[in-house]
Symmetry: C2
Amino acid sequence: MAEVVSTTPSTPAAGSKSEHAYVAVKSRIIDGSYSPGYRLVLAQIADDLRVSVVPVREALRRLEAEGLLTFERNIGATVAGIDPTEYLYTMQTLSIIEGAATALSAPLIKPADIARARAINTEMRECLDHFDPVRFTRLNQDFHSVLFENCPNPHILDLVHRGWARLASMRSSTFRFVPGRAHNSVDEHEALMRLIEADADPDEIERVSRLHRSATLDAYLAQSKQ
Amino acid sequence: MAEVVSTTPSTPAAGSKSEHAYVAVKSRIIDGSYSPGYRLVLAQIADDLRVSVVPVREALRRLEAEGLLTFERNIGATVAGIDPTEYLYTMQTLSIIEGAATALSAPLIKPADIARARAINTEMRECLDHFDPVRFTRLNQDFHSVLFENCPNPHILDLVHRGWARLASMRSSTFRFVPGRAHNSVDEHEALMRLIEADADPDEIERVSRLHRSATLDAYLAQSKQ
DNA sequence: GAATACGAAATCGTATACGAAGGCTAGGGT
DNA sequence: ACCCTAGCCTTCGTATACGATTTCGTATTC
């Protein structure tokens, strides 16, 4: 399955405690054990992971650079997120980056990829009845992964991954708030796949992909405004 | 003047040695004191800056997450760059991000900003005669800073900054290699400003801005191919 | 009773120390 | 002459220690 959660290009320093701490904290943030606003205490984490504080500090620095948490001098680190504005910014950024990634990826997508994507989208459609936001969001992530994962530019790919990670960390899960959006989303997925199959103009693919995400954002905004 | 070198939203931990090390190493990379491939030795840097290795390690981690250098376990850190492929990736990414940033920024640009941009572009034009690639590149950076600095989405803005920093760190300076490109560039700047002044469709501004950078990249590729 | 000032506890930031891993050089063997 | 091996030197990775800073509670005063 497509790996979306991770990473900078090649895992740096596998086996080091620093790396271990990085992975551990990151996954705890993403799976929600450390929810937004959570206060990360160095000594406590270090104790948890049976390491000293030094590697933990390094891990937190890396996560800070990725935007998953914020540091304050002499205060400590807190998990980022929560702020609706932040959500908006992240979605907008992701719409741009993911659109580009999908367009660049499109020419390299093989029929087998499309088949996988379609299978996932079918699952999503079935999921619409007894609606499970979490499962739906997960499938959504898998679906898009298939479409952009072939992007030949590793920087862009990395940025997409980071964007998804940020979204996951603020577990807004959108569809939890705007279940009505899910239906449209599935249809737009189908349209997007058609374009890719037909070797459509990359600009068009980029436009559609970007709009797809913007629409989700708009739905969220319309919802939260009322 | 527009600050382009810096970084993550608000400077984290001002006054800390870690921050000091971060700024120092980053500027040395960008100004070329540490050129690509340079081997960064912790103890040596720490000694240079009169601090211990711990803050230096943290600084290097942050720079790693920004892509300015790479880490290898038990080996050390080396300044990234050099690789022409890397240059290509960075330019492509920046074309997308900066295009979006410029488009988002455009509606917020005031006549005074345009005036500043135009003044810089005039300097660039004058610079064409007794051509100085370094100065030209610097002006180019300033020019674009004016155009995208109003972008209301801080994430995107941050990505643009990082892209510029990466480019600066590999000091390819493009115009050094493709002086012929400089002339077109100045003209395209003028066209871009006209669009912004006329409150053109943001999509159009984004397209033009992206093409502007792509053209520079293409010129570089055409040059290096022969 | 509320506000302020003082002090203790918690937590961070950094230095120092030491063990481990990689690389280089010299010496011996084939 | 060349390759392989042993040992040293460099440099990294992490633990521990300690001073600095913030926070929170308590007591004292108006």
